[in-house]
Each structure stands twice: as structure tokens, then as C-alpha cells.
């Protein structure tokens, strides 16, 4: 993981939850790596990383664009024409997922409505599965490419809203496999590639996964949060890393970049 070079010494005092998430996401990205980005905050995070410590980050969008520069304002979709500006290679969905399956993608950003202790995600339905699959209580949009990224990216970073009803011991439906049941070689035995989720970023904490049990653990608390407050918003027991620390708030420069250069019209980063 990147040692975040703290070039900007002054911390911002005024920042929104989504700006905190974007900053945390950007700081997890290593320079010169290939990042598969979904719509929304990951697009802001990648651009922020490119403008700070990661000028040689290579974004890939599932619509088919490889290595573009997002200089036409933020895309509204992973199939947006804005994902193609100055791209090195453009094909289609088969191509971008074949790249993923082959192993070209280092990091995938994915999200979901529910997450369990092993980083498995649900973005399909709320209700009884399989009984009520055809008529769920709430139908969510579906896998899209998340189910593919979770299967084949070298590792994934999850962004989930930190609420009790979303951090659950058991998912109502598993759309994107993480560490499955946490057993050794669970992913390999299921036919999956890649190492699964490495980080979970929320407005309350930066989390990772225990090497042995593959259960989620708190690595750092976000500004203003404590282990207790993070646990109180989580529907399962979180482990706590022995080197727990308090996450550095966004710097003034990071916030300036987000507000002035990356997302001035607040498409994704609400203030």
C-alpha cells in the first residue's frame, strides 16, 4: 500500500463526508497501477490521485476505454464519451473484462447496498433469496460490472455507506464475492482469481481484512470517529488492528483540487 507522502502539510477543517471518502480512496492508490473505476466517487478519487501522488495511474472503464485522461469534466457513466479522452485503447465490454480476467487490472473499486464481514457485497435485492427472487422487497440495480471486478481484479477496494443496516453479518444476496466464507483458499476453490477485497472505505473508518480469518478489521478511524462509534454503526463485530491510527483529514490542497479542478459542479462530491 502506498506510503502517502504528506506533501501538503495543512489539513482542511471544512470537508464533507464524500470528500473524505474520495481523499481516502485516492490515498490507497499506488502510482503506475491499473485501476478499474466505477461511476461516482471512484472517478473523483482516481483523478485526485493522478493530480497528487499518482500521475501515472492508468484508469480503465468497463465501456471499453483504457488509459484515458479525464479532461472533459467527470464522466456520468462508465460508458460516457468522457471516459475516452486521450485513451490509449478503446474497444468494448468484452475487451475490458478480458483484460480483467487475464490479470491486467491491479485494483477495482466496487460498492454495494450491503457488505458482510468478509467483504462480500449485495447490489441485487433486499428480501428473501431465493424464495422471493422474482418479487423482492426492494430491487436494486444488479451486478453491472461489479460482479466481474470482484471475481478477477487483483484486489478490490470497497466503498460502502457506513450504516447498521448495510454492514450485516449475513447478506440477503451475494452479488460480488469477496472472501466468501473466509475459509482458506475459498476464492480459489470457487474458481475465482485475484485476492479479493483489501480495503473498505467509509465515512467512519478505513478497514482491511485479517490475514487469517479474512474478517473485516478497523485500520484507522476517520476524523471525529472512535472504535466505539464505528462499531456502533456496524451490524457485526469488527476486529481492530494492533496499529490502529487516526486517519489524516484531507489537506487543504486535496480539498481545493476536488472543489476547483475535479468536481466543481458537485456531480459526485456533495459539500
Amino acid at each position: 500500500m502506498t506510503e502517502y507522502a504528506n506533501d501538503f502539510s495543512e489539513y482542511a477543517t471544512d470537508f464533507s463526508p464524500s470528500e473524505m471518502i474520495v481523499t481516502a480512496g485516492a490515498r490507497q492508490l499506488e502510482n503506475k497501477k491499473v485501476i478499474f473505476a466505477g461511476t461516482g466517487l471512484p472517478m473523483v478519487g482516481i483523478t485526485l490521485a493522478q493530480l497528487t501522488h499518482g500521475p501515472d495511474i492508468i484508469p480503465v472503464f468497463e465501456g471499453g476505454a483504457v488509459g484515458p485522461t479525464l479532461n472533459r469534466s467527470l464522466p456520468l457513466s462508465v460508458g460516457d464519451s468522457r471516459t475516452t479522452s486521450k485513451a490509449n485503447f478503446i474497444q468494448g465490454l468484452n475487451s475490458s473484462f478480458e483484460l480483467t480476467q487475464r490479470g491486467f487490472i491491479d485494483v477495482g473499486f466496487i460498492g454495494g447496498a450491503e457488505v458482510d464481514p468478509y467483504g462480500n457485497l449485495n447490489s441485487t435485492m433486499i428480501g428473501n433469496f431465493p424464495e422471493n427472487y422474482m418479487n423482492p422487497d426492494i430491487r436494486l440495480p444488479g451486478s453491472g460490472g461489479a460482479g466481474d471486478m470482484s471475481c478477477s481484479c487483483t484486489y478490490t477496494i470497497l466503498i460502502v455507506q457506513h450504516e447498521l443496516r448495510r454492514f450485516v453479518e449475513e447478506l440477503q444476496y451475494m452479488t460480488s464475492p469477496g472472501h466468501l466464507d473466509g475459509s482458506p483458499d475459498a476464492r480459489k476453490n470457487a474458481g475465482l482469481q485475484g485476492k479479493g477485497p483489501r480495503r473498505v472505505i467509509t465515512t467512519k473508518a478505513l478497514m482491511g481484512f485479517d490475514d487469517e480469518t479474512k474478517r473485516m478489521k478497523i485500520l484507522a478511524t476517520m476524523p471525529g470517529e472512535t472504535v466505539e462509534s464505528v462499531q456502533a454503526a456496524t451490524g457485526f463485530e469488527l476486529l481492530v488492528d494492533e496499529n490502529l491510527y487516526e486517519f489524516e483529514p484531507p489537506t487543504k490542497e486535496e480539498i481545493r483540487l476536488i472543489r476547483e479542478d475535479i468536481d466543481p459542479t458537485q456531480i459526485y462530491c456533495k459539500r
Binding site: T39, G40, G63, G64, A65, N71, R72, S73, L76, S77, V78, G79, D80, S81, T83, T84, S85, I90, Q91, G92, L93, N94, F97, T100, Q101, N120, T124, F129, P130, Y133, M134, N135, P136, D137, I138, R139, L140, P141, G142, S143, G144, G145, A146, G147, D148, C151, S152, Y173, M174, T175, S176, P177, R187, N189, A190, G191, L192, Q193, I267, Y268
Partner: protein
């Protein structure tokens, strides 16, 4: 195995019988839909979410009315939302019985209220896949193979609600997933350029349009601009879909609007969000505004000219101006009504 659309054997047989001659395939959209979209058809929806969605073709299908269509696509927004919206308003006139898909929604503009309405009220049969699963299914179809192996869409619950099959790979001894080919009765695709024979040039991302075209029994193409055959023949490596896969060519500028068409126009955000808002209202029980929308914008017009004719010029102009420009050149442009 119960095939939706054509079985691989039927798809092969139909293609052997097909007239593959290089002939002028121009026709009106009304004629094309009349000839190639039948009740009960399995329809492959081209584009990706709201990029190059075949909106004009979807509107024409709705106007003519069909029953029991099934839809196959990876990720889509406007097209399934228009089709499900029409079914919600006039089920006696138009209906869908089944969706095979990975995602219905509008990304930045939110989830699909029509998908919620149809599923939560048990009005439609669904089959979930991942994006790559669906792309692979079209690719298998395009290759004349009954299935392809993939390492996507396994390990979780998706494989439990679709027709994929786990096997042990005979070479590695590891589990791998097989997904069945998808051969739609008709593929509906919007592109930037085509010649009169149906050779298509897609600009920007191809999504899975070429694979879908090659897999489908019939293909209706709408294009922004009809180009001379010589243009195609001078640089044939740029042809995304060859003519003999295409059955109808319809020149229809703004055939994707209010979706995006790469290099031609950006999203018609104002109108897209307007329609999206009406579907949100419908799900919450406010029925009339959605009905009025269809009466005005779909049933109330004869064709796409009529639909686009109802769009304020400022919205079309903005969508054209803002497309494919750097931030610097976008300065001073303001979305009308936004």
C-alpha cells in the same frame, strides 16, 4: 436447457437460409420494426446504460405495440425504462415478460424505478447475470458456439439464478463457469455511421454491439448519418459490423437522444432526468404524469422526427456543443433548464 431467443442450432439454420446479398437496406423505422419485431421476440438491446441506447427503435416498438417481448442486454437505462414504462401505462398495448440483464439504472442519475415497480409487483420474470456474463453470451453467439467458459459471475448468488453451469475444467481441474450463447430474434442498435448496405462504423466504445449483431437473427440499425459505401471501403478496418449481419438501415439523427451518442451529442440530461423523475413518481403511485408523457412524446408523435421536434432546440444544441470537448472549451456552456 431452455433457450430464450434462438437455440444455437436454430440460429445457424436461420443464418444459412438468410439472404446475405449486398443490397440497399434503407427503410423507414416503421417498416423495419413492422418486419423484424414480432410478439414474443427476444430482443437484444444495443448500447450501454445510456450511451448509444436505441431509444428511437424502442419508441417505435412501443407505438406499434407488441406483447411478451423478452429483453437481453448487459447494462441499460433509458431503453428498458421506456419499455417498462409503456407496459406500466398500457399493458394491453405493449408488454415485456422477461429480462436477462446485469444492470438496469442510470448510474449518476440513480436506480431504475421501473425495474423496481415491475419486480416488486411480480410483473416480470428476471434472470440476473454480470455485465461480462452477458457480453460473453453475445460473444459465444457471434462465434457460433453454444457456450463459453468464464471466470466471472461465480462464487456468489448470481449463478444460482441463471442458466450458467459450473464444470471442472478438464485442463486445470479448477471450477469454471459456462454461460450459454445468446441469440436474440432481433438486435436493435444505434450507430454513428452506416452505408446503405448496413456496414456500420461505431465511434468510441463498441460496447457489445458488434457481438450482438453477429449473434442475432435479424438486426435493425439506426444511424446518425448515412455515409457513402466508398467511405467504408477505403478504410474497412474501421467497419464495426459487416453488412450481411444487418437487415434494416434507418438514418435517424438523434436516434439515441436523450442518451449519449459518442462524438455526436452528449446526454440530453434535462429530458433524461425529467423522464426519470416521472418514473420515480409512478412507482410511488403518481400515475398520470407518466401517462401524459407517453401520450405526448411517444403515442402523440408519428415518429422520431416528431419526438425530437418536441425537444427545445437549446437542449439539442447544448448536447451537441458539450460533446467531446475539453473542460476549457466547455466553459460558458450552460445546460438549458438544468
Amino acid at each position: 436447457m431452455e433457450w430464450t431467443g434462438l437455440s444455437p442450432d436454430d440460429a445457424r439454420e436461420k443464418l444459412e437460409q438468410k439472404d446475405k446479398s449486398k443490397r440497399d437496406k434503407r427503410m423507414s423505422l416503421t417498416e423495419a420494426v413492422k418486419e423484424f419485431v414480432k410478439d414474443g421476440d427476444h430482443v437484444g438491446v444495443g448500447g450501454f446504460v445510456n450511451s448509444r441506447p436505441p431509444v428511437a427503435i424502442a419508441h417505435e416498438i412501443i407505438r406499434q405495440g407488441r406483447q411478451d417481448l423478452s429483453l437481453a442486454f448487459q447494462s441499460a437505462g433509458l431503453v428498458p425504462d421506456y419499455l417498462m414504462g409503456a407496459m406500466a401505462i398500457r399493458p394491453d398495448h405493449f408488454s415485456i415478460s422477461r429480462l436477462e440483464f446485469a444492470y438496469v439504472g442510470h448510474e449518476y442519475a440513480g436506480t431504475s424505478s421501473m425495474l423496481r415497480y415491475m419486480t416488486e409487483n411480480n410483473k416480470i420474470v428476471i434472470e440476473d447475470w454480470t455485465n461480462y456474463n452477458m457480453s460473453t453470451r453475445f460473444k459465444a453467439g457471434s462465434m457460433g458456439l453454444p457456450f463459453l467458459p468464464t471466470r466471472s459471475g461465480l462464487g456468489g448468488d448470481i449463478e444460482k439464478c441463471n442458466r450458467s453451469q459450473y464444470i471442472k475444467c478438464p485442463f486445470t481441474d479448477r471450477d469454471i463457469l459456462l454461460v450459454p450463447a445468446c441469440h436474440p430474434d432481433v438486435g436493435i442498435i444505434h450507430v454513428q455511421e452506416a452505408d446503405i448496405y448496413g456496414n456500420c462504423r461505431i465511434k468510441g466504445q463498441t460496447f457489445t454491439c458488434p457481438e450482438m449483431a453477429m449473434a442475432s437473427k435479424n438486426v435493425i440499425v439506426t444511424c446518425e448519418k448515412l455515409v457513402e459505401h466508398d467511405v467504408i471501403a477505403t478504410e474497412p478496418t474501421r467497419t464495426s459490423i459487416p453488412y450481411f449481419a444487418v437487415d434494416a438501415v434507418v438514418e435517424l439523427p438523434f436516434g439515441s437522444f436523450p442518451g449519449l451518442c459518442h462524438d455526436i451529442h452528449y446526454y440530453g440530461k434535462t429530458h433524461l432526468e425529467y423522464y426519470k423523475g416521472l418514473t420515480n413518481g409512478f412507482r410511488k403511485g403518481v400515475v398520470e404524469p407518466l401517462r401524459e408523457y407517453f401520450d405526448k412524446y411517444v403515442f402523440g408523435v408519428k415518429d422520431t422526427d416528431g419526438f425530437i421536434g418536441l425537444m427545445p432546440y437549446e437542449q439539442l444544441k447544448y448536447a451537441r456543443q458539450v460533446e467531446s470537448r475539453s473542460l476549457h472549451l466547455q466553459q460558458g456552456l450552460q445546460e438549458p433548464g438544468a
